[in-house]
C-alpha cells in the first residue's frame, strides 16, 4: 500500500481545487494516512472474479418524453450569483496572462 506523503496531499488538494494552508496540510497527511490504512482493507476481501456494483438498483436507460417543460427564469437562475453582468454570470479571468 502506498503511503501518502505531504507532497501527494498537496497535489491532490490542487486537483480538488482546495487551497490548503501549510497547517492544514501537516494535519491532513497524518489523518489521511490513518483513514487510508483502514479503508485499504477492502483489498483483503475475497473479491477476485466479483462483479463491481456501482448502484443499488438495476435501473438502466431512464428517459423522459422529449417535450419542453418550465425551467428557471434568468432572474431566478442569477439571483444567487456572486457577480452578474448583462444577465450573465460574471467570473474571474479563465486564461493565464502569459
Amino acid at each position: 500500500m502506498a503511503d501518502l506523503t505531504r507532497a501527494d496531499v498537496a497535489h491532490l488538494a490542487g486537483l480538488a481545487r482546495i487551497d490548503l494552508s501549510d497547517a492544514e496540510l501537516d494535519r491532513m497527511v497524518g489523518e489521511l494516512g490513518v483513514i487510508l490504512e483502514a479503508v485499504a482493507t477492502v483489498q483483503q476481501a475475497p473479491i477476485a472474479d466479483v462483479e463491481p456494483m456501482s448502484h443499488p438498483m438495476p435501473i438502466v436507460n431512464v428517459t423522459r418524453p422529449d417535450v419542453v417543460r418550465p425551467s428557471l427564469s434568468p432572474q431566478d437562475a442569477l439571483a444567487a450569483a456572486p457577480e452578474t453582468e448583462q444577465q450573465r454570470f460574471s467570473v474571474p479571468r479563465i486564461l493565464d496572462e502569459e
Binding site: D19, E24, V39, A45, V62, R93
Partner: protein, 505 residues
C-alpha cells in the same frame, strides 16, 4: 389523548385537526413557542420560519373551514433537514459555502409536504453536507442531545432527531447516506426510517453520495414515521433513480403491528463484541419481546460486513468529491479571492473559496475521494470497494432467504460527549458500523428505541432491516416492539427525558 399540543403525536394531531378540535395555527404556534423556549439550549434549527409556517397553517385552516377535502396530514407541522432545497427558505447544508443561499426551487419531497398542507417550521441543523455522526461538523455549531445537553444528538441529522426529541416538532425530514437518520434516532430515543433506495425522490436533495443517499421520516412514534413516509414516497420523473412502483403499505403495517410467524434474523456480525453492554442488553430484551409477540428468531451470518465500513469510506468520498465539485464560486454560494494575488484566475478563486468555505471533514473526504478515483489507484481502492459492495448485497440476499427481516442494535454505543471523537475521524466513522451495510445494498432500515442503557441511563436503538421495497415490514416490526416496550415502560421513553425548560434556565 394528551392536551399539550407539543407532546401530541402527528397521528393525534391529524385526528384533532380533522375533527376541528384544534386549528393548524394553534398547533403551529404552540410548537414555535416551544422552540422559543428550548432551542437556545438544543440548537436543532439553523432557520425557523415562524411567519411562513403560520401562513401555511392559516391557509389549511381556511380550506378546512370552506369544506375542502384535505390530505389526512393537512395542518400537521414538519421540520426539514437543511440539505433539501426549499424555495424562499435558506438552504445551507450546514456549510459556510452555502451560507445565505436561497434556492430558486423546491425539492420534490418538499413539494409533496406543501401539497399535503403540512406547514414547514424551519430547517434543521446537520453535519456539513451530511458528513458526520454528531452535528459537530456543522459550520454553525452543534446541536445538543435533549437527554443530556453535553452529548451529541447523532449525525448527520442531529437537528432532525433533536427537534422531535425536544418536542419542537412532531415530525422531521432526515436523509440517510450511512445512517444519518437511524443513528440520530437511536441516541435520542426517537424513531427514524431510511426507505428503500429510490423510494423517495432525491430531486432537490443536495447530493452527498448519489448511490447511497435516501431521505426519510423522523418522529417519536413508528406510526408517525409511516404517515410521513407515505406523504413523501413515490415515483418522481425528475429523479431517474426513483422507483416506478406503488409505495409499500407502510401506514397499514404500522397500524397492524403484526409479527406473528415472522422470521427475525439476528445478524451475528452486528451484535455482541464492540457493542456497549447496555445497548446489547436492551437489544436482547427487544428480541425477546418480538418472540413473545409471535416471531421466530434465526441467526444469520453476513461475513462481508466486516469490510463494509472500509468500502463505504471509499465509495462515499469518491462520489462526494465528484458531487461537491459544483461548489466552484461561479454561479451561487460563497466567492472568496485569494489574498495577495492581483487579478486572480477563476481557478485561484475557486481554490481559495473552497478552502474558506468547506470545513475540515469535507476537505478530508474530498481529498480522500480524489485519491481513490485517481489514475493508478482507481482499481485498488474504488474498484475494490465496488466489488465489496456486491459481496455485501449478496450477503443480504442470502440472509433474506432465511429471514423476513434482519435486526441489530442501531449504533454500537449511546450518545457520546460533544468533543470526544472530534479529533479522531476513524473513531467517529465507527458509529456507522451497523447502519452502513443497508445503504450499500439499497435496502430499507428503521431505528426504534429499545430503552435506556443501565450504565449511563441514555437511549439505545433497535435496528430493523428488510429487503428492497418491503419497507412495510420495518413498520410492522417497529410498531409491534414499540407497543410492547411502551407497555413495559408504562409510557413513552421520552417521558423520562429531562424537562428542558428547567435545564435551559
Amino acid at each position: 389523548m394528551t392536551t399539550d399540543l407539543t407532546r401530541a403525536t402527528a397521528a393525534e394531531l391529524a385526528d384533532l385537526l380533522g375533527a376541528g378540535t384544534v386549528s393548524s395555527r394553534e398547533v403551529t404556534q404552540a410548537l414555535l413557542d416551544r422552540t422559543a423556549a428550548v432551542d437556545g439550549a438544543v440548537h436543532s434549527y439553523l432557520h425557523v420560519d415562524g411567519e411562513g409556517a403560520l401562513a401555511q397553517a392559516g391557509e389549511v385552516d381556511r380550506r378546512r373551514a370552506a369544506g375542502e377535502s384535505l390530505h389526512r396530514m393537512a395542518g400537521v407541522p414538519v421540520a426539514v433537514k437543511d440539505v433539501l432545497a426549499t424555495s424562499g427558505l435558506p438552504t445551507t447544508c450546514g456549510s459556510r459555502i452555502l451560507d445565505g443561499w436561497v434556492p430558486p426551487y423546491d425539492a420534490t419531497l418538499v413539494t409533496r409536504l406543501r401539497e399535503a398542507g403540512m406547514p414547514i417550521l424551519g430547517k434543521t441543523n446537520m453535519d456539513e453536507f451530511a458528513m458526520g455522526s454528531s452535528t459537530e461538523h456543522s459550520a454553525f455549531g452543534p446541536s445538543h442531545n435533549p437527554w443530556d445537553l453535553d452529548r451529541i444528538p447523532g449525525g448527520s441529522g442531529g437537528g432532525s432527531s433533536s427537534v422531535v426529541a425536544s418536542f419542537q416538532a412532531p415530525l422531521a425530514i432526515g436523509t440517510d447516506t450511512g445512517g444519518s437518520i437511524r443513528q440520530p434516532a437511536a441516541v435520542t430515543g426517537t424513531v427514524g426510517a431510511k426507505p428503500t433506495y429510490g423510494g423517495v425522490s432525491r430531486y432537490g436533495l443536495v447530493a452527498l453520495a448519489s448511490s447511497l443517499d435516501q431521505a426519510g421520516p423522523c418522529s417519536r412514534t413508528v406510526l408517525d414515521s409511516a404517515l410521513l413516509h407515505a406523504v413523501i414516497a413515490g415515483h418522481d420523473p425528475m429523479d431517474s433513480t426513483s422507483i416506478d412502483a406503488p409505495v409499500p403499505a407502510v401506514v397499514e403495517a404500522a397500524r397492524r403491528a403484526d409479527v406473528s410467524g415472522m422470521r427475525i434474523g439476528i445478524v451475528k456480525e452486528l451484535t455482541g463484541e464492540g457493542f456497549q453492554a447496555g445497548v446489547q442488553a436492551r437489544f436482547e430484551e427487544a428480541v425477546q419481546h418480538l418472540v413473545d409477540a409471535g416471531a421466530e428468531v434465526v441467526e444469520v451470518s453476513c461475513p462481508s460486513f466486516s469490510y463494509a465500513l472500509a468500502a463505504y469510506y471509499l465509495i462515499l468520498p469518491s462520489e462526494a468529491s465528484s458531487n461537491l465539485a459544483k461548489f466552484d464560486a461561479m454561479r451561487y454560494g460563497l466567492r472568496v479571492s485569494p489574498e495577495g494575488v492581483d487579478a486572480p484566475s477563476a481557478e485561484q478563486v475557486m481554490a481559495a473559496t473552497r478552502d474558506a468555505g468547506f470545513g475540515d471533514e469535507v476537505k478530508r473526504r474530498i481529498i480522500l475521494g480524489t485519491y481513490a478515483l485517481s489514475s493508478g489507484y482507481y482499481d485498488a481502492y474504488y474498484g475494490s470497494a465496488q466489488k465489496v459492495r456486491r459481496l455485501i448485497a449478496n450477503d443480504f440476499a442470502a440472509a433474506f432467504e432465511r429471514a423476513d427481516v434482519l435486526v441489530s442494535p442501531t449504533a454500537p454505543t449511546t450518545a457520546f460527549r460533544l468533543g470526544d471523537k472530534l479529533d479522531d475521524p476513524m473513531a467517529m466513522y465507527l458509529n456507522d458500523i451497523a447502519t452502513i451495510p443497508a445503504n450499500l445494498a439499497g435496502i430499507p432500515g428503521l431505528s426504534v428505541p429499545s430503552g435506556l442503557a443501565d450504565e449511563d441511563g441514555l437511549p439505545a436503538g433497535f435496528q430493523v432491516l428488510a429487503p428492497a421495497m418491503a419497507d412495510d415490514r420495518l413498520y410492522a416490526v417497529g410498531a409491534a416492539l414499540e407497543a410492547r416496550l411502551t407497555a413495559a415502560w408504562g409510557g413513552p421513553l421520552l417521558d423520562r427525558a429531562p424537562d428542558l425548560t428547567e435545564v435551559a434556565r
